[in-house]
């Protein structure tokens, strides 16, 4: 039971509880805060997996920007701050679909990857530093990088156009 394993299990239980809290909470602000628990857990998992740049980016972008954007959206749509019923009529079909999907996925994953181990080697550590990741983005993946930049610009302009008062 290595320390990474212990860290993984603590984070996984916290993330699982947070995910259930997001989809089952009766208070909309609590749901957003449970999502922040999941995001922090994910960032910590990335650091356990030696993906330092993705972990820090997760903190900055997801928690620092997207979660704050959600809280602003909750405030601006005057979402009811007290407990409310946010589930529509399709709760039980949704539970069945999600449970079926989970069972199928777990069966396939256990069958396909049952014996594979992640080795946290020094080679992985050297390859996952910010420098090599940046090299990979700007050499092998420069076209998707440019396309994503244009997409961000379009989304930014589009969001302003959609939400403006005229």
């Amino acid at each position: 039971m290595t320390s990474q394993n212990v860290a993984f299990w603590i984070l996984a239980i916290a993330m699982g509880a947070g995910a259930v809290g997001v989809v089952r909470s009766r208070n909309i602000v609590h749901a957003a805060l449970f999502l922040i628990v999941v995001l922090v857990g994910a960032a910590a998992q990335y650091i356990v997996l030696l993906a330092e740049f993705v972990g820090i980016t997760q903190f900055f972008i997801y928690i620092g920007a997207i979660a704050v954007l959600f809280l602003f959206g909750i405030m601006l749509t005057r979402a009811p701050m007290q407990a409310g019923d946010f589930d529509n009529d399709q709760r039980w079909p949704a539970v069945m679909v999600a449970a079926f999907l989970f069972v199928v996925l777990v069966a396939l994953l256990v069958q396909a990857f049952g014996h594979d181990e992640i080795q946290l080697t020094d080679k992985l550590l050297e390859a996952s530093r910010t420098g090599p990741v940046a090299d990979s983005i700007f050499r092998n993946f420069v076209v998707p990088f440019e396309v994503v930049s244009m997409l961000l610009l379009a989304a930014l302009v589009g969001a302003v156009v959609i939400a403006r008062r005229d």
Partner: protein, 99 residues
């Protein structure tokens, strides 16, 4: 560390997200569930990147984070507009195209 630990965690988060998208009535809560699904995919990508010692999985995880940010921006703008027009964030009331 088994690879399956991460993959099954990712599957669980994804299925929670699927349930949330299908069962929640408020637009912001649906967007929160979509973010859950995107994070599940990211965990999958980074776990495989660690498994194969290839950095491409991390690069794609970064792209997914960027696209999620764009999508949340546009999604919340749409939810804001729905609220402004219908005076209620309830997605069940958006039914004008219904036959």
């Amino acid at each position: 560390m088994a690879l399956n630990q991460y993959l099954i965690l990712s599957a669980f988060l994804f299925c929670c997200g699927v349930y949330g998208v299908l069962a929640r009535r408020n637009g912001v809560l649906v967007l929160l569930s979509v973010e859950l699904m995107l994070n599940a995919v990211n965990i999958n990508l980074v776990a495989f990147s660690a498994f194969t010692s290839h950095v491409a999985g991390q690069v794609f995880a970064l792209f997914v984070i960027t696209i999620a940010a764009a999508e949340v921006g546009v999604g919340l703008a749409i939810v804001l507009l729905i609220y402004r027009n219908l005076r209620s964030p309830d997605l069940d009331r958006v039914d004008q195209l219904k036959g």
